[in-house]
């Protein structure tokens, strides 16, 4: 129990949740949740100048949404869902996903899209695709719950981060490399398979 209590009150941010603990309030007043820094550093990378006639390098923008109250495990499904879509398609699809996390992801993508046009020399805001999209664990607040026989357990209130990178241009045809066959190809392969069959005891 001591271990949990120590975790609960040792690291700020549980200030006046519990009445009567006066010392923690002034600490909590200045506590800021840590936000990831390294992903946004990609926005600062400067590429060498291109020669004349070279194909222009596609612009990209990295963006993140941090510490929102949603489970990273659930967020993963949404993050993987939009990967490899065009921006317009992703926004359209997300508005029909009936999950709380879809709202955060949609907002993040829209913010990134605006940033791309404003700061990163992207001409058309529709000419972008979701090149990277992933979720991470954010801050975890630990709560306690009661168990039988005077025992107690830990509750984890999870926060998540969401990261997205939009790249200029068209998305690859088959992002997840599923090698989907066209109906004609499916038919052809089936026919081929049927013809290759060996009928036992025939000659």
């Amino acid at each position: 129990m001591n271990k949990i209590l120590k975790r609960l009150f040792g690291v700020g941010l549980t200030p006046n949740h519990v009445h009567g603990i006066h010392t923690s309030a002034p600490i909590a007043a200045w506590v800021q949740a840590k936000t990831p820094q390294s992903f946004l550093k990609h926005n600062r990378k400067i590429f060498p100048p291109q020669a004349i006639g070279e194909e222009p390098r596609p612009a990209f923008v990295c963006h993140q949404k941090t510490n929102f109250k949603y489970s990273p495990k659930k967020l993963w499904y949404i993050a993987s869902f939009v990967r490899g879509m065009t921006v317009d398609e992703a926004i359209k699809q997300l508005s029909f996903v009936n999950k709380k996390g879809a709202v955060f992801v949609k907002e993040a993508i829209q913010e990134a899209q605006e940033l791309a046009v404003k700061d990163h020399n992207v001409e058309y805001k529709s000419n972008l695709w979701v090149a990277e999209s992933f979720a991470n664990k954010g801050m975890i607040i630990k709560g306690i719950r009661r168990h039988a026989r005077g025992r107690m357990g830990e509750v984890r209130y999870m926060y998540s981060h969401y990261f997205v990178r939009l790249e200029e241009g068209k998305p690859p045809k088959d992002y997840y490399k599923r090698n989907e066959l066209t109906p004609q190809e499916q038919l052809d392969s089936w026919l081929e398979q049927m013809r290759k069959r060996k009928i036992i005891n025939s000659y």
Binding site: M1, L5, L13, T14, P15, N16, H17, V18, H19, G20, I21, A25, P26, A28, A29, A33, R44, K45, I46, F47, P48, P49, Q50, I52, P56, R57, P58, A59, K65, T66, N67, F68, K69, H120, N121, E123, Y124, G138, M139, I141, G143, I144, R145, R146, H147, A148, R149, G150, R151, M152, V155, Y157, Y159
Partner: protein, 364 residues
């Protein structure tokens, strides 16, 4: 600590009062997941006690078998919750209630009352208002008595009438410049306009090279505090290739002025130098795409650069202060970067004037 103590004491005291409903839940779970009435019956003493309930459930389920699948699908079969919702409150009481912080709430959009309330909650004091205003006194904030470049400079023939007029005007103004140069000489003994020109060109090149190299430290030495932000403007995350090719005409001093600021002894000197040079400029964005200029094209550049020195300061140096852009200068090249023009804001529709009807007032 009191709340925690309460909670833990509650834990100990209530630990044994929990109803033992494990048997009922397991029974409940099994019946819900069973769809085949002829399947194995529940075994053991717990199940026997509820055999009659089980039979009813079996009957119900057997009728449900013919119902469309949509009815049967969406409920959880394994649940540890008691079927009677009256224990819901007790279940909720197992968790210690805590206020979770909201990191994504935007303090910018909050009303002042809300902000005040939040700060009171956290025991924070409102921030001290910042009344101080920094100002810098080792450089002036502008050009005094700016030089007006003659029209068509660098292009029109000297024989033309406009040029002839302008040269006459220039000669008249020259006396004031002479006075200023004499004033500068009283602070700086070996100041000559000819020598200054080569020094100015050196400063000019060094300043541009340091901006191309993104060298903030060295740029400070060649540029005054007024010109510094103007130099750095629009250079963020850009690659600049700049080359000084040659001087088409030797640089010459065209204008000089001195003024005192605040006190009589606090004198600043400003000298305008005319540069006619050939340069090369290419600006690339973060992704290495060409934004402006060209790597293979050289351009002739005519510029009037104002240099400033804090003469009263023993350690003052000549630095670039401003650039005079004449109003007859040709317009700038359009940017290679194209953008979608933002849509114009819709004009507010005018309400049609209606004669104001005075509401009927009842007589008193």
């Amino acid at each position: 600590m009191s709340a925690i103590r309460d909670f833990t004491s509650q834990l100990k005291s209530k630990g044994r009062r929990f109803p033992d409903y494990s048997a009922r839940t397991s029974f409940n779970g099994r019946v819900l997941c069973r769809l085949d009435p002829s399947g194995p019956r529940p075994r053991g003493p717990q199940a026997q006690g509820h055999a009659d309930v089980s039979a009813i459930a079996d009957f119900l389920l057997s009728t449900l078998r013919h119902a469309p699948a949509a009815f049967l699908q969406p409920y959880r079969t394994t649940t540890n919750k008691h079927f009677n919702p009256k224990y819901k409150k007790e279940r909720a009481a197992k968790y210690l209630k805590i206020d979770l912080p909201k990191f994504d709430e935007d303090a910018g959009n909050m009303s002042p009352e809300k902000v005040r309330q939040k700060m009171k909650e956290r025991g924070m004091l409102p921030p001290r208002p910042w009344i101080e205003r920094p100002f810098y006194i080792s450089a002036t904030g502008g050009i005094f008595e700016a030089y007006i470049p003659p029209e068509g400079d660098g292009k029109a023939s000297i024989v033309s009438t406009t040029r002839a007029k302008q040269t006459v005007q220039l000669l008249e103004k020259k006396s004031k410049s002479m006075m200023a140069v004499r004033k500068i000489k009283s602070f700086e003994e070996d100041f000559t306009t000819n020598e200054f020109c080569s020094q100015a060109q050196n400063i000019y090149i060094k300043a541009h090279e340091s901006i191309a190299n993104h060298d903030k430290e060295s740029l400070r030495l060649y540029v005054t505090e007024k010109a510094y932000p103007e130099f750095r403007h629009n250079t963020w995350e850009k690659t600049i290739h700049w080359k000084f090719l040659e001087s088409l005409e030797p640089p010459r001093v065209v204008h000089a002025r001195c003024t005192d600021i605040v006190s009589k002894e606090n004198i600043f000197g400003q000298v305008t130098v005319r540069f006619h040079t050939r340069q090369q400029l290419a600006v690339y964005d973060r992704f290495g795409r060409l934004l402006h200029g060209s790597e293979i094209l050289a351009k002739d550049v005519l510029e009037y650069i104002v240099f400033e020195k804090h003469l009263a300061n023993m350690y003052g140096t000549w630095r670039i202060h401003a650039k005079i852009i004449p109003d007859w200068a040709p317009p700038k090249d359009p940017s290679k970067l194209t953008k979608i023009r933002p849509e114009p804001e819709p004009e507010p529709t005018k309400m049609l004037d209606k004669p104001e009807e005075t509401p009927a007032i009842a007589d008193k």
